[in-house]
Amino acid sequence: MVNRLISITDGDITIDGESVRKLELTQLRRRIGYVFQQIGLFPHMTIESNIGAVPRLLGWSKSRIRSRAGELLELVGLDPEGDLRRYPGEFSGGQQQRIGVARAMAADPPIMLMDEPFGAIDPIARERLQNDFLRLHRQVRKTVIFVTHDIDEAIKMGDRIAIMRDGHLVQLDSADRLLASPADDFVASFVGEDRGLKRLRVRKLDELELDPPAGDDSSASVSSDTTLHFALSRMLAEGTTRLNVVDGDTAVGSVSLGTITRLIAPPEDANGHLAADGTSGHPAAEGAGE
């Protein structure tokens, strides 16, 4: 709907205050990079032409398109020398989706729309693509709308997560807030019974108020930029309830099992949140849909 591949029947979507319904269709679409599950590379065009499709529409010069395509291939981790002249059929699914991402970014659109981009890719390649895209996103700073049915992917990729159900927005929050206080039973079941554990993955030690260092050199230590999830698993592995936290070589404090469990415990306002939403109180089983 954002790029009007599906037309809007009711309501509106605005980009920088401008309604997408009022923008000219092709102009709107050329400003939104689109990546979707089926990738949809043009099989009859070289990688260079694929990436250059939108720039060509915008009237870029050949040399500019070429250098841009090479730059983007490098950015997504492909070979900017040899791969430009090859055809999509010569690449694996994961590589094709990297090209798809490069193509979507070709004309440097302010917005990227990613519709289950890594859905059809095997788990190992998907994990790598997610990490690469996160790194990429930190470099390019764009607004990315990322659609997924995989809550773990949403938690990993999203700054803010919107949960949709039957066409309605159920909750819009950060991953941490979503896991800490789901708006209703549907969201709670969707984020999973183990949401407490999942929260540990999105929180890092350096976000916590640490206890003073244990002073005892024999206790194990973890880096302050590790997740609580990792810290907990270290505790379990070491058979200890307290870990020293280090930043580089300097000890910055320690974390105890109690600190972590207090974080998992539901915060005070969880009930207030539940009451605020009209769909609360439904049995969890009803929330099985997406």
Binding site: T26, R29, Y34, Q38, G40, F42, P43, H44, L57
Partner: protein, 246 residues
């Protein structure tokens, strides 16, 4: 068409040799006389081959735009497929001699009549293949094109038609080979070409001319097919390049 090579006269007795002072081979009307063939290639077969090629080129050249336009229209407007298919299939099913005979009553015995007949036989194949090719374009590719802001016209020209090319070319190959072969029958109504030599030979009973013209028509079809395959490879370089390991 292909029965042109059957030894129709094999069982017959000596035929009156009216070729004036020919070689022994010709006088005795052997199955094939190489020396006569070579002697007359330039004056008899050469022009007939050229005429045959022109006949075919015009037929496919006229049939292609008609079928092509109809297929694109049917691709955009689904309702058009059935009526045009029926029309083309109807033309295609009429036995060639019957169609030619019917046409003669309208346009007379001449090259034009022959072309009308030949064109009508190319339509079904070219229409079907073009439409199938267009419909075979992956929906994801079209969605990507639309999402990128290509207009419907740009999508057709830059994405859909190029991707339909292998199917279209397959249609052109079949249509061309069929037309080369049908064009021999079109000589019956004044099409000329190699078919005229075959009809000549049937009347005179001169086997060498008959065999040579038939063989040349086959050769022409094979050569045309090879050339079209090569052309297709040149214009669709992407279709042969695939990931080797999966």
């Amino acid at each position: 068409m292909t029965l042109a090579l059957q030894p129709v006269f094999a069982a017959g007795g000596p035929v009156i040799p009216n070729f004036g002072g020919g070689s022994n081979c010709v006088v005795q009307n052997h199955q094939f006389c190489m020396s006569w063939f070579l002697d007359n290639f330039h004056s008899v077969f050469g022009p007939a081959i050229v005429q045959h090629i022109v006949l075919t080129l015009i037929a496919v050249g006229v049939g292609m735009p008609i079928a092509f336009g109809a297929a694109i229209f049917a691709y955009k407007q689904n309702w058009f497929e059935t009526p045009f298919s029926l029309f083309a299939a109807f033309l295609y099913t009429i036995p060639s001699l019957a169609l030619f005979e019917l046409l003669v009553q309208v346009t007379g015995i001449n090259r034009f009549t022959a072309e009308v007949g030949l064109v009508s036989y190319t339509l079904l194949i070219l229409f079907r293949n073009t439409l199938t090719g267009l419909r075979g374009v992956p929906p994801a590719t079209i969605e990507a094109a639309q999402a990128m802001g290509l207009t419907p016209r740009q999508t057709l020209l830059r994405v859909e038609l190029p991707l339909a090319t292998p199917a279209i070319m397959a249609g052109v190959r079949i249509a061309t080979v069929t037309t080369i072969s049908l064009a021999t029958v079109a000589a019956y109504i004044g099409g000329g070409g190699l078919g005229a030599l075959i009809f000549d030979a049937i009347q005179s009973g001169f086997k060498t001319e008959f065999v040579a013209a038939g063989a040349l028509a086959i050769l022409l079809a094979i050569v045309a097919d090879i050339l079209l395959v090569l052309l297709q490879r040149v214009i669709t370089p992407w279709s042969r390049r695939r990931l080797q390991t999966t």
